[in-house]
Amino acid sequence: MTARQPAVEGVFAALADSTRRRLLDLLAARGEATATMLASELPVSRQAVVKHLAVLDSAGLVRSHRAGREVRYAVTSQRLDATARWLTARALEWDRQLMTIKQLAEASDMRK
């Protein structure tokens, strides 16, 4: 694992799918689960769950580890947190821009 910046758009794309959001919710509630356990709670096949977990994994939203013959998955919050921070920074940038538009518009109104 390298110390890279968050792949924000990977996170957005991963979260764009409702099954993957549901998987994250289930994992968050359970702490840890296998693909088989998750598939039993969703209207999709185990193979589909494995594919969705791979997308979540590559977006850095879940991690997995082997326990005997099983692969167990768990939520990692770091990427989600980083993405939330990124969005916050971008929203603050918009606030600055809106403030500048406000100042320019109000200044030029006063000059009239």
Partner: protein
């Protein structure tokens, strides 16, 4: 959960006409009169010159003078026209409230960006720097006008 959009707004003590003029300057880098010469309308592409950051083709999604402007731009790729997978949508909406004007901005479409994370990070940094310098230029021009009058 993380949302795929940013929504911000501000109330401005100026007429909707004045705010619209500043919104045009902000988005296109030219004034209303200059923009009118280009016949910008829905579907057309206007190349905005953001000075040292490059020229950015903006695809107009909707333009309703004094009320609404929305466009797509590929902020990470100077000179490249916006496509679904390289751009975000920016929607600016104005509404008069008494003697003031409410300006709302929505930026959306982060989920469809399929660039590498380096490109994404660069896009953010470029956007931030580009907007900052754009506004700095606007501010200087406004102050200059103020002192001349």
């Amino acid at each position: 959960m993380v949302s795929d959009r940013i929504e911000r707004e501000i109330v401005i003590a100026a007429t909707q006409d004045r705010v619209w003029a500043e919104v045009i300057e902000f988005a296109f880098g030219v004034g209303e009169a200059e923009l009118a010469k280009h016949g910008v309308r829905k579907g057309s592409v206007f190349v905005a010159d953001y000075r040292i950051h490059g020229k950015f083709p903006l695809r107009i999604e909707k333009i309703e003078p004094k009320h609404h402007l929305s466009y797509r731009w590929a902020s990470a790729f100077p000179g490249i026209e916006p496509q679904a997978n390289n751009s975000t949508l920016i929607e600016l909406t104005l509404a008069t409230e008494g003697h003031e004007t409410r300006l709302r901005v929505v930026e959306s479409g982060f989920a469809s960006l399929d660039s590498s994370e380096e490109t994404r990070r660069k896009a953010f940094e470029d956007n931030t720097a580009g907007w900052a310098s754009e506004f700095e230029a606007l501010r200087k021009r406004a102050e200059l006008e103020g002192s001349v009058r």
